[in-house]
Protein backbone atom coordinates (compact mmCIF):
# COMPACT_ATOMS: atom_id res chain seq x y z
CA UNK A 1 0.00 0.00 0.00
CA UNK A 2 1.46 3.31 -1.00
CA UNK A 3 1.40 6.00 1.64
CA UNK A 4 -1.16 8.60 0.64
CA UNK A 5 -0.21 12.08 -0.40
CA UNK A 6 -1.89 14.44 2.04
CA UNK A 7 -3.96 16.73 -0.15
CA UNK A 8 -3.29 20.36 0.52
CA UNK A 9 -6.61 22.25 0.54
CA UNK A 10 -6.84 24.03 -2.78
CA UNK A 11 -6.06 21.23 -5.22
CA UNK A 12 -4.13 18.01 -5.66
CA UNK A 13 -1.08 17.42 -7.82
CA UNK A 14 -2.16 19.11 -11.08
CA UNK A 15 -4.28 16.28 -12.52
CA UNK A 16 -6.09 18.13 -15.28
CA UNK A 17 -9.77 17.02 -14.88
CA UNK A 18 -9.61 18.14 -11.26
CA UNK A 19 -9.49 21.75 -12.38
CA UNK A 20 -13.21 21.62 -12.95
CA UNK A 21 -13.82 21.64 -9.23
CA UNK A 22 -14.40 25.35 -9.43
CA UNK A 23 -16.80 25.41 -12.38
CA UNK A 24 -20.43 26.47 -12.03
CA UNK A 25 -22.93 23.89 -10.74
CA UNK A 26 -26.02 24.17 -12.96
CA UNK A 27 -29.52 23.59 -11.57
CA UNK A 28 -31.45 21.18 -13.83
CA UNK A 29 -33.80 22.82 -16.33
CA UNK A 30 -36.52 20.17 -16.81
CA UNK A 31 -37.81 21.15 -20.26
CA UNK A 32 -39.76 17.88 -20.31
CA UNK A 33 -41.79 19.01 -17.32
CA UNK A 34 -42.91 22.21 -18.98
CA UNK A 35 -44.02 20.34 -22.08
CA UNK A 36 -45.91 17.85 -19.90
CA UNK A 37 -47.53 20.72 -18.02
CA UNK A 38 -48.64 22.32 -21.28
CA UNK A 39 -50.11 19.04 -22.55
CA UNK A 40 -51.97 18.42 -19.31
CA UNK A 41 -53.42 21.92 -19.32
CA UNK A 42 -54.48 21.54 -22.97
CA UNK A 43 -56.27 18.25 -22.26
CA UNK A 44 -57.91 19.84 -19.27
CA UNK A 45 -59.05 22.84 -21.27
CA UNK A 46 -60.55 20.49 -23.88
CA UNK A 47 -62.62 18.68 -21.26
CA UNK A 48 -63.79 21.95 -19.73
CA UNK A 49 -64.71 23.22 -23.20
CA UNK A 50 -66.70 20.08 -23.93
CA UNK A 51 -68.63 20.54 -20.73
CA UNK A 52 -69.23 24.22 -21.32
CA UNK A 53 -70.52 23.52 -24.81
CA UNK A 54 -72.36 20.32 -23.89
CA UNK A 55 -76.09 20.19 -23.19
CA UNK A 56 -75.66 22.02 -19.90
CA UNK A 57 -77.45 25.29 -19.15
CA UNK A 58 -74.88 27.20 -17.15
CA UNK A 59 -77.32 30.04 -16.52
CA UNK A 60 -79.46 27.62 -14.50
CA UNK A 61 -76.41 26.65 -12.46
CA UNK A 62 -75.77 30.29 -11.68
CA UNK A 63 -79.40 30.93 -10.85
CA UNK A 64 -79.71 28.10 -8.30
CA UNK A 65 -76.24 28.39 -6.79
CA UNK A 66 -77.55 30.68 -4.08
CA UNK A 67 -81.19 29.58 -4.01
CA UNK A 68 -82.50 29.50 -0.46
CA UNK A 69 -83.33 25.78 -0.60
CA UNK A 70 -79.75 25.01 -1.65
CA UNK A 71 -78.26 27.23 1.05
CA UNK A 72 -80.43 25.82 3.82
CA UNK A 73 -79.55 22.32 2.60
CA UNK A 74 -75.90 23.28 2.77
CA UNK A 75 -76.28 24.44 6.35
CA UNK A 76 -78.01 21.18 7.27
CA UNK A 77 -75.30 19.14 5.56
CA UNK A 78 -72.52 20.94 7.39
CA UNK A 79 -74.35 20.82 10.72
CA UNK A 80 -75.01 17.10 10.41
CA UNK A 81 -71.40 16.45 9.40
CA UNK A 82 -70.19 18.25 12.51
CA UNK A 83 -72.59 16.53 14.91
CA UNK A 84 -72.32 13.06 13.43
CA UNK A 85 -68.52 13.28 13.28
CA UNK A 86 -68.41 14.44 16.90
CA UNK A 87 -70.52 11.47 17.94
CA UNK A 88 -68.52 9.15 15.66
CA UNK A 89 -65.16 10.25 17.02
CA UNK A 90 -66.35 10.03 20.63
CA UNK A 91 -67.67 6.51 20.06
CA UNK A 92 -64.60 5.60 18.01
CA UNK A 93 -62.23 6.57 20.80
CA UNK A 94 -64.38 4.82 23.40
CA UNK A 95 -64.60 1.57 21.47
CA UNK A 96 -60.94 1.65 20.41
CA UNK A 97 -60.03 1.82 24.10
CA UNK A 98 -62.49 -0.95 24.86
CA UNK A 99 -61.21 -3.20 22.11
CA UNK A 100 -57.68 -2.89 23.56
CA UNK A 101 -58.84 -3.28 27.14
CA UNK A 102 -57.56 -6.13 29.31
CA UNK A 103 -61.21 -6.79 30.23
CA UNK A 104 -62.57 -9.48 27.87
CA UNK A 105 -66.22 -8.41 28.28
CA UNK A 106 -65.47 -4.91 27.08
CA UNK A 107 -63.26 -6.30 24.36
CA UNK A 108 -65.92 -8.59 22.93
CA UNK A 109 -68.59 -5.93 23.20
CA UNK A 110 -66.41 -3.52 21.23
CA UNK A 111 -65.59 -6.19 18.64
CA UNK A 112 -69.25 -6.91 18.15
CA UNK A 113 -70.04 -3.23 17.74
CA UNK A 114 -67.32 -2.77 15.11
CA UNK A 115 -68.32 -5.91 13.23
CA UNK A 116 -72.02 -5.19 13.26
CA UNK A 117 -71.98 -1.53 12.31
CA UNK A 118 -69.25 -1.86 9.70
CA UNK A 119 -71.09 -4.85 8.34
CA UNK A 120 -74.61 -3.54 7.80
CA UNK A 121 -75.60 -0.99 5.18
CA UNK A 122 -75.96 2.55 6.45
CA UNK A 123 -79.32 2.78 4.72
CA UNK A 124 -80.64 -0.07 6.87
CA UNK A 125 -79.25 1.50 10.02
CA UNK A 126 -80.91 4.80 9.21
CA UNK A 127 -84.21 3.12 8.46
CA UNK A 128 -84.03 1.06 11.64
CA UNK A 129 -83.53 4.16 13.77
CA UNK A 130 -86.18 6.07 11.89
CA UNK A 131 -88.66 3.21 12.20
CA UNK A 132 -87.64 2.18 15.69
CA UNK A 133 -91.29 2.57 16.66
CA UNK A 134 -92.03 -0.66 14.80
CA UNK A 135 -90.12 -2.43 17.55
CA UNK A 136 -90.31 -0.06 20.50
CA UNK A 137 -93.50 2.03 20.17
CA UNK A 138 -92.63 4.06 23.27
CA UNK A 139 -89.32 4.77 24.94
CA UNK A 140 -88.36 6.08 28.37
CA UNK A 141 -88.69 4.64 31.87
CA UNK A 142 -92.06 2.84 31.95
CA UNK A 143 -94.47 4.49 34.40
CA UNK A 144 -92.19 7.42 35.11
CA UNK A 145 -91.51 9.30 31.93
CA UNK A 146 -92.28 8.11 28.45
CA UNK A 147 -92.37 9.46 24.94
CA UNK A 148 -93.79 8.26 21.67
CA UNK A 149 -90.76 6.93 19.81
CA UNK A 150 -91.75 8.72 16.61
CA UNK A 151 -91.68 12.03 18.45
CA UNK A 152 -88.14 11.42 19.68
CA UNK A 153 -86.84 9.90 16.47
CA UNK A 154 -87.10 12.97 14.34
CA UNK A 155 -85.28 12.85 11.01
CA UNK A 156 -82.46 14.84 12.63
CA UNK A 157 -82.17 12.43 15.55
CA UNK A 158 -82.36 9.30 13.44
CA UNK A 159 -79.77 10.67 11.01
CA UNK A 160 -77.47 11.68 13.83
CA UNK A 161 -77.67 8.28 15.50
CA UNK A 162 -77.40 6.39 12.23
CA UNK A 163 -74.42 8.30 10.86
CA UNK A 164 -72.68 8.78 14.21
CA UNK A 165 -72.90 5.19 15.38
CA UNK A 166 -71.92 3.87 11.97
CA UNK A 167 -68.98 6.27 11.83
CA UNK A 168 -67.91 5.26 15.32
CA UNK A 169 -67.27 1.71 14.14
CA UNK A 170 -64.95 2.88 11.38
CA UNK A 171 -63.25 5.47 13.56
CA UNK A 172 -62.61 2.86 16.25
CA UNK A 173 -60.41 0.95 13.83
CA UNK A 174 -58.52 4.09 12.86
CA UNK A 175 -58.00 5.13 16.48
CA UNK A 176 -56.81 1.64 17.35
CA UNK A 177 -54.19 1.91 14.61
CA UNK A 178 -53.18 5.33 15.92
CA UNK A 179 -52.78 4.12 19.48
CA UNK A 180 -50.66 1.19 18.30
CA UNK A 181 -48.42 3.59 16.40
CA UNK A 182 -47.35 5.47 19.54
CA UNK A 183 -43.98 4.30 20.85
CA UNK A 184 -44.73 2.02 23.83
CA UNK A 185 -41.89 3.79 25.62
CA UNK A 186 -44.23 6.77 26.04
CA UNK A 187 -46.73 4.65 27.94
CA UNK A 188 -43.98 3.24 30.14
CA UNK A 189 -42.65 6.69 30.92
CA UNK A 190 -46.17 7.81 31.84
CA UNK A 191 -46.59 4.82 34.14
CA UNK A 192 -43.33 5.57 35.93
CA UNK A 193 -44.63 9.00 36.92
CA UNK A 194 -47.67 7.30 38.45
CA UNK A 195 -50.30 7.76 35.76
CA UNK A 196 -53.14 5.25 35.53
CA UNK A 197 -54.04 3.57 32.27
CA UNK A 198 -56.80 6.04 31.40
CA UNK A 199 -54.82 9.15 32.32
CA UNK A 200 -51.95 7.86 30.19
CA UNK A 201 -54.28 7.39 27.25
CA UNK A 202 -55.83 10.80 27.65
CA UNK A 203 -52.74 12.87 28.36
CA UNK A 204 -49.92 11.07 26.56
CA UNK A 205 -51.00 8.47 24.02
CA UNK A 206 -54.02 10.02 22.29
CA UNK A 207 -52.40 13.42 21.66
CA UNK A 208 -49.51 11.65 19.97
CA UNK A 209 -51.76 9.22 18.11
CA UNK A 210 -53.46 12.23 16.53
CA UNK A 211 -50.71 12.52 13.96
CA UNK A 212 -51.56 9.09 12.57
CA UNK A 213 -55.29 9.43 13.16
CA UNK A 214 -55.91 12.75 11.43
CA UNK A 215 -55.26 11.80 7.77
CA UNK A 216 -57.67 8.83 7.67
CA UNK A 217 -60.23 10.68 9.80
CA UNK A 218 -59.88 13.57 7.36
CA UNK A 219 -60.83 11.12 4.63
CA UNK A 220 -63.80 10.06 6.70
CA UNK A 221 -65.01 13.57 7.47
CA UNK A 222 -64.93 14.31 3.77
CA UNK A 223 -66.85 11.11 3.09
CA UNK A 224 -69.30 12.07 5.80
CA UNK A 225 -70.11 15.37 4.10
CA UNK A 226 -71.35 13.35 1.19
CA UNK A 227 -72.71 10.45 3.18
CA UNK A 228 -75.27 12.76 4.77
CA UNK A 229 -77.09 12.55 1.45
CA UNK A 230 -78.08 8.97 2.24
CA UNK A 231 -80.20 10.47 5.00
CA UNK A 232 -82.48 12.00 2.41
CA UNK A 233 -84.46 8.73 2.50
CA UNK A 234 -85.55 9.58 6.00
CA UNK A 235 -86.34 13.14 4.99
CA UNK A 236 -83.28 14.90 6.38
CA UNK A 237 -83.19 17.85 4.05
CA UNK A 238 -79.52 18.11 3.13
CA UNK A 239 -78.16 19.81 0.06
CA UNK A 240 -78.35 16.95 -2.42
CA UNK A 241 -81.93 16.19 -1.48
CA UNK A 242 -82.90 19.81 -1.90
CA UNK A 243 -81.18 19.88 -5.27
CA UNK A 244 -83.14 16.80 -6.26
CA UNK A 245 -86.42 18.30 -5.13
CA UNK A 246 -85.72 21.19 -7.45
CA UNK A 247 -84.88 19.01 -10.43
CA UNK A 248 -87.93 16.86 -9.85
CA UNK A 249 -89.89 19.99 -10.62
CA UNK A 250 -87.77 21.66 -13.31
CA UNK A 251 -86.00 18.67 -14.92
CA UNK A 252 -82.55 20.36 -14.79
CA UNK A 253 -80.81 17.27 -13.42
CA UNK A 254 -77.17 17.78 -14.37
CA UNK A 255 -77.34 21.51 -13.64
CA UNK A 256 -78.63 21.02 -10.10
CA UNK A 257 -76.09 18.29 -9.46
CA UNK A 258 -73.36 20.69 -10.55
CA UNK A 259 -74.70 23.25 -8.09
CA UNK A 260 -74.44 20.65 -5.33
CA UNK A 261 -70.97 19.65 -6.50
CA UNK A 262 -69.75 23.24 -6.37
CA UNK A 263 -70.85 23.56 -2.76
CA UNK A 264 -69.44 20.16 -1.85
CA UNK A 265 -66.11 21.17 -3.37
CA UNK A 266 -66.19 24.39 -1.37
CA UNK A 267 -66.85 22.55 1.88
CA UNK A 268 -64.24 19.91 1.11
CA UNK A 269 -61.69 22.60 0.29
CA UNK A 270 -62.29 24.25 3.64
CA UNK A 271 -62.04 20.88 5.37
CA UNK A 272 -58.83 19.98 3.56
CA UNK A 273 -57.25 23.24 4.66
CA UNK A 274 -58.50 22.60 8.20
CA UNK A 275 -57.02 19.12 8.10
CA UNK A 276 -53.63 20.46 7.06
CA UNK A 277 -53.69 23.02 9.87
CA UNK A 278 -54.59 20.34 12.39
CA UNK A 279 -51.89 18.06 11.02
CA UNK A 280 -49.37 20.81 11.46
CA UNK A 281 -50.61 21.53 14.99
CA UNK A 282 -50.17 17.89 16.03
CA UNK A 283 -46.85 17.51 14.22
CA UNK A 284 -45.50 19.75 17.02
CA UNK A 285 -42.65 17.97 18.71
CA UNK A 286 -42.33 15.68 15.71
CA UNK A 287 -41.48 12.03 15.85
CA UNK A 288 -40.41 10.37 19.06
CA UNK A 289 -37.14 9.24 17.59
CA UNK A 290 -34.93 11.40 15.42
CA UNK A 291 -34.65 10.39 11.78
CA UNK A 292 -31.91 7.85 11.18
CA UNK A 293 -28.54 9.36 10.36
CA UNK A 294 -29.69 12.77 11.51
CA UNK A 295 -27.42 14.84 13.65
CA UNK A 296 -28.14 14.77 17.37
CA UNK A 297 -29.23 18.39 17.10
CA UNK A 298 -32.44 17.14 15.55
CA UNK A 299 -32.76 20.29 13.50
CA UNK A 300 -34.31 18.26 10.70
CA UNK A 301 -36.65 16.16 12.89
Amino acid sequence: MSGPAVAAPGGPAGVSPYEIAHLTHVRPKHYGRWIAAALVLAAFAAVVKAFVEGQIAWAVVGQFLTASAILSGLVNTVAMTVWAMALGVALGVLFAIMVMSPNPVLRWLARFYIWFFRGTPLLLQLLLWFNLALVFPRIGIPGLIEWRTVDVMTPFMATLLGLGINQGAYTAEVVRGGILSVDPGQTEAAKTIGMTRLTTLRRIVLPQAMRVIIPPVGNEVISMVKLTSVASVIQYSEILRNAQTIYFANARVIELLIVAAIWYLAVVTVLTVGQHLLERRFARGGRTQPRPEAGAEGAQA
Binding site: F64, R148, S232, Q235, F248, A249, A251
Partner: protein, 256 residues
Protein backbone atom coordinates in the same frame (compact mmCIF):
# COMPACT_ATOMS: atom_id res chain seq x y z
CA UNK B 1 -121.34 12.87 11.06
CA UNK B 2 -119.25 10.86 8.65
CA UNK B 3 -116.92 13.74 8.06
CA UNK B 4 -116.00 14.34 11.70
CA UNK B 5 -112.45 13.36 12.44
CA UNK B 6 -111.61 10.94 15.28
CA UNK B 7 -111.08 12.61 18.69
CA UNK B 8 -107.34 12.04 18.55
CA UNK B 9 -107.05 14.19 15.41
CA UNK B 10 -109.40 16.86 16.71
CA UNK B 11 -107.47 17.18 19.95
CA UNK B 12 -104.19 17.53 18.10
CA UNK B 13 -105.87 20.04 15.79
CA UNK B 14 -103.84 18.75 12.85
CA UNK B 15 -103.72 16.05 10.26
CA UNK B 16 -100.17 14.82 9.59
CA UNK B 17 -99.82 13.97 5.90
CA UNK B 18 -96.81 12.41 4.19
CA UNK B 19 -95.84 13.50 0.71
CA UNK B 20 -92.75 13.42 -1.44
CA UNK B 21 -92.43 16.36 -3.79
CA UNK B 22 -91.01 14.49 -6.79
CA UNK B 23 -94.18 14.09 -8.83
CA UNK B 24 -95.18 17.26 -10.57
CA UNK B 25 -97.90 18.41 -10.90
CA UNK B 26 -99.41 16.16 -8.23
CA UNK B 27 -96.90 17.05 -5.55
CA UNK B 28 -93.70 19.09 -6.04
CA UNK B 29 -91.84 22.09 -4.80
CA UNK B 30 -92.05 25.26 -6.78
CA UNK B 31 -88.38 25.92 -7.69
CA UNK B 32 -88.93 29.67 -7.40
CA UNK B 33 -90.57 29.91 -4.00
CA UNK B 34 -89.40 26.53 -2.63
CA UNK B 35 -92.91 25.77 -1.30
CA UNK B 36 -94.95 22.59 -1.59
CA UNK B 37 -97.32 22.81 -4.54
CA UNK B 38 -99.55 20.48 -6.52
CA UNK B 39 -102.94 18.89 -6.76
CA UNK B 40 -102.42 16.59 -3.76
CA UNK B 41 -101.23 19.47 -1.62
CA UNK B 42 -104.26 21.62 -2.43
CA UNK B 43 -106.62 18.69 -2.01
CA UNK B 44 -105.02 17.71 1.32
CA UNK B 45 -105.42 21.25 2.61
CA UNK B 46 -109.06 21.21 1.54
CA UNK B 47 -109.68 17.88 3.29
CA UNK B 48 -108.13 19.15 6.51
CA UNK B 49 -110.18 22.32 6.33
CA UNK B 50 -113.37 20.29 5.86
CA UNK B 51 -112.47 18.24 8.94
CA UNK B 52 -111.80 21.42 10.89
CA UNK B 53 -108.09 20.82 11.48
CA UNK B 54 -104.82 22.01 9.98
CA UNK B 55 -102.77 19.98 7.53
CA UNK B 56 -99.17 19.32 8.55
CA UNK B 57 -96.99 18.05 5.70
CA UNK B 58 -94.02 15.74 6.19
CA UNK B 59 -91.68 14.98 3.32
CA UNK B 60 -90.92 11.29 3.31
CA UNK B 61 -89.29 9.16 0.61
CA UNK B 62 -91.84 7.11 -1.29
CA UNK B 63 -90.59 3.76 0.03
CA UNK B 64 -90.80 5.04 3.61
CA UNK B 65 -94.43 6.12 3.47
CA UNK B 66 -96.14 2.89 4.47
CA UNK B 67 -93.68 2.22 7.35
CA UNK B 68 -94.26 5.80 8.55
CA UNK B 69 -97.97 5.13 8.51
CA UNK B 70 -97.44 1.98 10.57
CA UNK B 71 -95.26 3.68 13.18
CA UNK B 72 -97.83 6.47 13.57
CA UNK B 73 -95.43 9.12 12.35
CA UNK B 74 -98.09 10.27 9.89
CA UNK B 75 -101.87 9.89 9.73
CA UNK B 76 -102.20 9.51 5.96
CA UNK B 77 -100.31 9.82 2.69
CA UNK B 78 -101.00 12.00 -0.34
CA UNK B 79 -98.34 11.38 -2.95
CA UNK B 80 -100.10 10.06 -6.01
CA UNK B 81 -99.84 6.55 -4.57
CA UNK B 82 -101.48 3.79 -6.60
CA UNK B 83 -104.00 1.57 -4.83
CA UNK B 84 -102.49 -1.90 -5.37
CA UNK B 85 -103.56 -5.23 -3.84
CA UNK B 86 -100.06 -5.84 -2.39
CA UNK B 87 -100.16 -2.49 -0.62
CA UNK B 88 -103.59 -3.29 0.78
CA UNK B 89 -101.98 -5.95 3.00
CA UNK B 90 -100.90 -3.12 5.27
CA UNK B 91 -103.27 -0.28 4.42
CA UNK B 92 -106.78 0.72 3.31
CA UNK B 93 -107.01 3.11 0.35
CA UNK B 94 -109.52 5.87 -0.24
CA UNK B 95 -109.33 6.24 -4.04
CA UNK B 96 -109.68 9.78 -5.37
CA UNK B 97 -108.15 9.90 -8.87
CA UNK B 98 -107.38 7.73 -11.89
CA UNK B 99 -104.02 7.37 -13.50
CA UNK B 100 -102.87 5.75 -16.73
CA UNK B 101 -99.47 4.60 -17.90
CA UNK B 102 -98.49 6.56 -20.99
CA UNK B 103 -95.76 5.73 -23.53
CA UNK B 104 -93.75 8.66 -24.87
CA UNK B 105 -90.53 9.28 -26.76
CA UNK B 106 -88.40 12.30 -27.75
CA UNK B 107 -88.69 14.43 -30.85
CA UNK B 108 -85.39 13.12 -32.24
CA UNK B 109 -86.87 9.62 -32.43
CA UNK B 110 -90.39 10.62 -33.40
CA UNK B 111 -89.87 9.72 -37.07
CA UNK B 112 -88.76 6.23 -36.21
CA UNK B 113 -91.32 5.55 -33.50
CA UNK B 114 -94.82 6.70 -34.30
CA UNK B 115 -97.04 4.46 -32.22
CA UNK B 116 -96.69 2.02 -29.31
CA UNK B 117 -96.57 -0.84 -31.84
CA UNK B 118 -93.15 0.47 -33.04
CA UNK B 119 -91.72 -0.14 -29.56
CA UNK B 120 -91.37 -3.91 -29.95
CA UNK B 121 -87.68 -4.82 -29.71
CA UNK B 122 -86.77 -1.43 -28.27
CA UNK B 123 -85.72 -0.35 -24.76
CA UNK B 124 -88.43 1.28 -22.70
CA UNK B 125 -87.89 2.60 -19.20
CA UNK B 126 -89.99 3.60 -16.21
CA UNK B 127 -89.45 4.36 -12.53
CA UNK B 128 -88.66 1.13 -10.73
CA UNK B 129 -90.51 2.11 -7.59
CA UNK B 130 -93.81 2.00 -9.51
CA UNK B 131 -95.67 -0.90 -11.09
CA UNK B 132 -95.15 0.49 -14.59
CA UNK B 133 -92.14 -1.73 -15.44
CA UNK B 134 -94.34 -4.74 -14.82
CA UNK B 135 -97.18 -3.25 -16.85
CA UNK B 136 -94.85 -2.57 -19.79
CA UNK B 137 -93.81 -6.23 -19.67
CA UNK B 138 -97.45 -7.32 -19.69
CA UNK B 139 -98.20 -5.02 -22.59
CA UNK B 140 -95.19 -6.37 -24.49
CA UNK B 141 -96.35 -9.96 -23.96
CA UNK B 142 -99.75 -9.16 -25.32
CA UNK B 143 -98.80 -6.80 -28.14
CA UNK B 144 -95.27 -7.82 -29.21
CA UNK B 145 -94.52 -11.42 -28.34
CA UNK B 146 -98.18 -12.26 -28.78
CA UNK B 147 -97.96 -11.02 -32.36
CA UNK B 148 -94.64 -12.70 -33.11
CA UNK B 149 -92.61 -9.52 -32.74
CA UNK B 150 -89.49 -9.13 -30.53
CA UNK B 151 -90.20 -8.22 -26.91
CA UNK B 152 -89.62 -4.81 -25.35
CA UNK B 153 -86.54 -4.55 -23.12
CA UNK B 154 -87.92 -3.14 -19.89
CA UNK B 155 -85.54 -0.90 -17.89
CA UNK B 156 -86.33 0.04 -14.28
CA UNK B 157 -84.94 3.54 -13.79
CA UNK B 158 -84.26 5.32 -10.52
CA UNK B 159 -87.22 7.64 -11.09
CA UNK B 160 -89.07 9.37 -13.87
CA UNK B 161 -86.38 12.05 -14.10
CA UNK B 162 -83.79 9.39 -14.69
CA UNK B 163 -85.97 7.83 -17.39
CA UNK B 164 -86.15 11.19 -19.18
CA UNK B 165 -82.36 11.67 -18.98
CA UNK B 166 -81.75 8.22 -20.42
CA UNK B 167 -84.19 9.03 -23.18
CA UNK B 168 -82.14 12.09 -24.03
CA UNK B 169 -78.89 10.12 -24.21
CA UNK B 170 -80.90 7.60 -26.32
CA UNK B 171 -80.04 4.77 -24.00
CA UNK B 172 -83.84 4.33 -24.04
CA UNK B 173 -86.05 4.71 -27.07
CA UNK B 174 -89.19 5.39 -25.05
CA UNK B 175 -90.38 5.75 -21.49
CA UNK B 176 -93.56 5.48 -19.49
CA UNK B 177 -95.00 7.79 -16.92
CA UNK B 178 -98.39 8.67 -15.53
CA UNK B 179 -100.67 10.48 -17.98
CA UNK B 180 -101.41 12.97 -15.20
CA UNK B 181 -97.78 14.16 -15.17
CA UNK B 182 -96.64 14.09 -18.79
CA UNK B 183 -98.38 17.32 -19.85
CA UNK B 184 -96.47 19.21 -17.15
CA UNK B 185 -93.12 18.19 -18.63
CA UNK B 186 -94.28 18.86 -22.17
CA UNK B 187 -94.95 22.38 -21.05
CA UNK B 188 -91.69 22.64 -19.07
CA UNK B 189 -89.49 21.39 -21.92
CA UNK B 190 -91.35 22.35 -25.10
CA UNK B 191 -90.79 20.31 -28.30
CA UNK B 192 -88.99 17.55 -26.43
CA UNK B 193 -91.46 14.79 -25.62
CA UNK B 194 -93.93 13.08 -27.90
CA UNK B 195 -96.72 10.91 -26.36
CA UNK B 196 -97.35 7.61 -28.12
CA UNK B 197 -101.03 6.70 -28.32
CA UNK B 198 -103.28 6.81 -25.30
CA UNK B 199 -102.67 5.54 -21.78
CA UNK B 200 -102.45 1.75 -21.93
CA UNK B 201 -103.55 1.01 -18.37
CA UNK B 202 -106.01 2.50 -15.98
CA UNK B 203 -105.37 2.44 -12.23
CA UNK B 204 -106.63 4.20 -9.15
CA UNK B 205 -104.72 6.65 -7.00
CA UNK B 206 -105.61 6.63 -3.32
CA UNK B 207 -104.89 7.81 0.19
CA UNK B 208 -103.66 4.95 2.43
CA UNK B 209 -104.60 4.54 6.13
CA UNK B 210 -103.55 1.86 8.58
CA UNK B 211 -106.11 -0.83 9.20
CA UNK B 212 -106.54 0.56 12.72
CA UNK B 213 -107.63 3.98 11.50
CA UNK B 214 -111.00 3.07 10.06
CA UNK B 215 -112.56 6.14 11.63
CA UNK B 216 -110.19 8.55 9.98
CA UNK B 217 -110.50 6.70 6.69
CA UNK B 218 -114.26 7.16 6.65
CA UNK B 219 -113.98 10.79 7.75
CA UNK B 220 -111.61 11.55 4.86
CA UNK B 221 -113.86 9.70 2.43
CA UNK B 222 -116.74 11.83 3.66
CA UNK B 223 -114.70 14.99 3.28
CA UNK B 224 -113.76 14.07 -0.29
CA UNK B 225 -117.38 13.42 -1.17
CA UNK B 226 -118.27 16.80 0.22
CA UNK B 227 -115.51 18.46 -1.83
CA UNK B 228 -116.82 16.75 -4.96
CA UNK B 229 -120.32 17.89 -4.15
CA UNK B 230 -119.38 21.54 -3.68
CA UNK B 231 -117.22 21.66 -6.82
CA UNK B 232 -113.87 22.24 -5.12
CA UNK B 233 -112.58 18.90 -6.46
CA UNK B 234 -113.29 19.78 -10.11
CA UNK B 235 -111.88 23.24 -9.63
CA UNK B 236 -108.59 21.82 -8.34
CA UNK B 237 -108.38 19.27 -11.16
CA UNK B 238 -108.82 22.07 -13.64
CA UNK B 239 -106.13 24.16 -11.96
CA UNK B 240 -103.54 21.46 -12.75
CA UNK B 241 -105.01 20.27 -16.07
CA UNK B 242 -106.09 16.91 -14.72
CA UNK B 243 -109.74 16.79 -15.81
CA UNK B 244 -109.16 13.45 -17.56
CA UNK B 245 -108.12 11.86 -14.28
CA UNK B 246 -111.27 12.58 -12.26
CA UNK B 247 -112.66 9.64 -10.26
CA UNK B 248 -116.34 9.77 -9.32
CA UNK B 249 -117.59 8.53 -7.00
CA UNK B 250 -114.89 8.18 -4.32
CA UNK B 251 -114.25 4.48 -3.58
CA UNK B 252 -112.41 2.36 -1.03
CA UNK B 253 -109.88 -0.36 -1.96
CA UNK B 254 -111.03 -0.67 -5.54
CA UNK B 255 -107.63 -0.57 -7.22
CA UNK B 256 -106.31 -3.57 -9.18
Amino acid sequence: AAQTAPDRIKQAGKLVIATFPNYAPITYKDPGSNTLTGFDIDLGEAIAKTLGVKAEWQEIAFAQMLPSLQTGRVDMVMAGMSDLPTRREVADFVDYMTSGAQFYTITALANEIKSPADLCGKSVGASRSTNWPQQIGDWSKANCEGKGKPAITVVGTEGSVDARTQLKTQRLQAAVQGNETLPYFQKLEPNTYVPLGKAFTQSLVGIPFTKAEGGLRDAVKGALEKLQADGTYDQLLAKYGLQDNALKPISINKGE
